[in-house]
């Protein structure tokens, strides 16, 4: 069999230029039918109207380090409001010369949070580190020993107050929420009813009413002469509020447990406490990580509501800067700055929860 000479294929036929590369990607993702093409063009047109104008306002025509008066004639954004007032926005009424103390406390907190991100570090020593860290942070804020001037908690404000309310709020609300969820799932009627009434009542009212309760009604509950710090009262209201929501999330996890798990634990001779601690909760809490984190995120955002009972958290300090006639007109810039801080914190939490969810996924 000779003669049929098969020529080696010299050129590989490439796919048409319109289906690979940038052009192909655009065809597949932006212009795959007439409706999408129209949609893309319309969106691009709208963006072309908004984005350049915004960039011009925010970056090109903007003022960064000028005085308030210099800003008034400018067309663009006046970011100068931030550097000019940064220390009041961040630290509130904390004594000016001692403001390094809340700064160190915040750096310590953020450092601990970053260190705890890695699950390899979850050991007993980490618990001690957190305990020691919290005590140091408290001392830094409060002062009064080691030559640090004492600072009344009424002078606490700004970002440290926001972080304080959220971190302690979350840390205390989580175990309380778990206890409430267990109570709601309990077979003891009285305890079950108490927990249901508590959870449903708290979930049915806005946080504002609880804050009003803590700021104006609660003092009436106490015997004469006893007063509780207003920050602590707001903190308790936030804890009570968040705990009810966490309880509902955890209840979802408990309901997702197969009955066999309880039966197996019982047949091993474990008592109620052991069953919960060793068998049920480790599994139940794991399946509710995503909703728990979204609850924690909303708790962080909800701390901003203390503005309404006149605590000087981050949002309130910003507002007081804006009540100054020099800076009054630049509210958008100031609010965008604060929004970026909140966004950063929440985004950090939600991306961490996504990662944790993936790491803890054991395929069942």
């Amino acid at each position: 069999m000779a003669g049929t000479d098969i020529k080696p294929i010299k050129e590989v036929i490439k796919p048409p230029a319109t289906s690979v590369g940038a052009l192909g990607w655009m065809r597949a993702n932006l212009f795959n039918n007439w409706f999408n093409s129209v949609l893309t063009l319309f969106t691009l047109y709208t963006l072309s109207k908004i984005v350049p104008a915004f960039i011009r306002w925010a970056f090109i025509d903007s003022q960064w380090l000028s005085t308030g008066e210099a800003c008034k004639g400018a067309d663009g954004a006046c970011w100068s409001i931030i550097p000019a007032n940064i220390r009041f926005i961040i630290f509130g009424f904390f004594p000016y010369e001692s403001q390094w103390r809340p700064l160190v406390a915040m750096v310590l907190l953020i450092g601990l949070l970053f260190y705890s991100r890695n699950r390899d570090h979850w050991k007993k020593s980490l618990t001690y580190a957190w305990g020691a860290g919290l005590i140091i942070m408290g001392l830094l804020m409060k002062g009064g020993i080691l030559g640090l001037a004492a600072v009344e908690s009424t002078q606490w404000g700004g970002l440290p107050l926001t972080l304080l309310l959220s971190v302690f709020g979350l840390a205390a609300a989580y175990p309380l929420g778990v206890v409430l969820a267990l109570g709601r799932a309990s077979r003891m009627k009285a305890i079950k009813v108490l927990c249901i009434v508590y959870i449903e009542m708290i979930r049915g009212v806005p946080l504002i009413t609880l804050l009003f309760m803590s700021s104006i009604v609660f003092p009436l509950f106490l015997p004469e002469g006893v007063t509780v710090n207003v920050i602590l009262r707001a903190q308790v209201a936030i804890i009570m509020f968040t705990a009810a929501y966490i309880a509902e999330v955890v209840r979802g996890g408990l309901q997702g447990m197969a009955k066999g798990q309880y039966e197996a634990a019982e047949s091993l001779g474990l008592n109620y406490y052991q069953t919960m601690r060793l068998v049920i909760l480790p599994q139940a809490l794991r399946i509710v990580i995503p909703p728990t984190v979204s609850q924690l995120i909303s708790a962080l955002k909800d701390t901003s509501l203390v503005v309404i009972i006149a605590l000087y958290d981050l949002l309130k300090t910003t507002q007081s800067v804006l009540s100054n006639p020099t800076w009054m007109a630049f509210s958008s810039e100031a609010y965008i700055f604060v929004a970026l801080i909140y966004f950063g914190c929440c985004y950090f939490m939600s991306s961490y929860s996504r990662r944790l969810e993936k790491e803890l996924d054991r395929g069942f």
Partner: protein
């Protein structure tokens, strides 16, 4: 071989007795705490000579309310002021809920779009607006109205009869005419007719298999009947157009900056959550359902109406309801920007009467009632829509 005598268990090791003991102890503790707090409160109230009871509801309020759906003046009672506040809460919540559902659904669908640009933009919207506190957003829009928008003299004037300025949104409305009342009635009549028509059409289709163009018929009824009424009533076209007089507009309808800022903040915040709910709902219906429905020969609209939506809604409705409830509860933040909602009016009442306990209790009762009504509705709906297993 006699049965062994029953082992005597000390009462504290008997699970039944122990649980009773435990419950009694808990109740006792809760009771004691309640007694302690109440007795303190009574002592304090007496010492500070604060009035108790709801008698203040009958007294003259002596404060003005900026916006009200009822006629209200400072000479009216606190009770009426609170009703006005409650109606304001209801108005802003209802309007907010309607717009939020529409906007949120659109964004949720955009998130799933095969168009890369649209889908990414929707994702960015959801991420950004979910992560910024709603109160901050309210402040932003409120300041936007007062600082960024021009005064009425330089009002933005996008289309005829609409003016946007730092005094709010002013727009032309039709001149009052009796025919509009009849148009309202005819819309209600049309809705009732549509309801019965749908029932009849469904029964006929079940009986004979003959479909009825129900959507087109309903649309024709709901739009056509009021239009016909309008034409029959002489087709009035006179408009009440706002005109600039001095420093503000006269005539037309006015939406205050407070209301608009509250509405915008609530809508943009909640829509981000609604979008996620809608996206999850649509994704919960597997692709095979669409394919199966198509292979049965259903038209795209039928696939959506008869196969996809009924399954997606079952997943969407419960979280959607809780988002609506969140919006209603968040509307209480109106107090921070001066829109006279229920919490704001109740706050003023507390300031004037000093009766904090009654005031806060009223706030809680109102929101609790709204929540319980909503969850009752949701339970009813869930039962109706629940999967009927074989």
């Amino acid at each position: 071989m006699g049965t062994p005598p029953p082992a005597t268990v000390p009462f504290y090791n008997d699970p039944k007795k122990r649980s009773i003991l435990f419950q009694l102890l808990t109740l006792l503790m809760v009771g004691l705490l309640a007694f302690y707090l109440i007795s303190n409160t009574l002592a304090n109230v007496e010492k500070q000579s604060i009035a108790t009871g709801f008698g203040f509801l009958e007294k003259e309020a002596a404060f003005e309310i900026g916006e009200s759906a009822l006629s209200y003046s400072a000479a009216d009672t606190y009770g009426r002021a609170l009703v006005v506040g409650f109606l304001n809460t209801l108005i802003v919540s209802l309007v907010g809920i309607i717009i939020t559902v529409i906007l949120g659904t659109l964004i949720g669908i955009a998130r799933l779009s095969s168009n890369w640009l649209v889908s990414k933009l929707a994702a960015a919207y959801i991420e950004v607006f979910q992560d910024i506190p709603v109160l901050l957003q309210l402040f932003f829009w409120y300041a936007f109205f007062y600082n960024v928008l021009p005064s009425p003299r330089q009002a933005i004037h996008p289309i005829m009869g609409v003016f946007l300025s730092n005094r709010g949104l002013v727009f032309a409305v039709p001149e009052t005419h009796p025919v509009y009342k009849y148009m309202g009635i005819s819309v209600i009549v049309a809705c009732v007719v549509v309801y019965f028509l749908r029932r009849w059409a469904r029964q006929r289709q079940a009986r004979t298999g003959q479909p009825f163009p129900i959507f087109r018929a309903s649309l024709a009824l709901v739009v056509g009947l009021p239009l016909a009424t309008w034409a029959a009533g002489g087709a009035p076209t006179a408009m009440n157009v706002p005109v600039l007089k001095g420093f503000n507009f006269i005539g037309g309808a006015n939406i205050s900056p407070e209301f608009t800022a509250l509405l915008l903040g609530l809508i943009f915040y909640t829509a981000a959550f609604v979008a996620e709910v809608v996206r999850a709902g649509i994704q919960s219906v597997s692709k095979g359902q669409t394919e199966a429905a198509k292979s049965l020969g259903l038209r795209p609209s039928q696939v959506l109406n008869l196969v996809i939506l009924p399954q997606a809604l079952r997943v969407i409705i419960p979280p959607m309801t809780s988002q609506m409830l969140n919006l209603t509860k968040n509307s209480s933040l109106a107090v921070a920007i001066g829109y006279p909602d229920f919490v704001s009016v109740a706050g003023t009442t507390i300031n004037q009467t000093g009766q904090a306990i009654e005031g806060v209790a009223l706030m809680m009762i109102v929101y609790l009632t709204l929540s319980l009504l909503t969850s009752a509705f949701m339970n009813w709906y869930n039962k109706k829509m629940a999967l009927v297993e074989r």
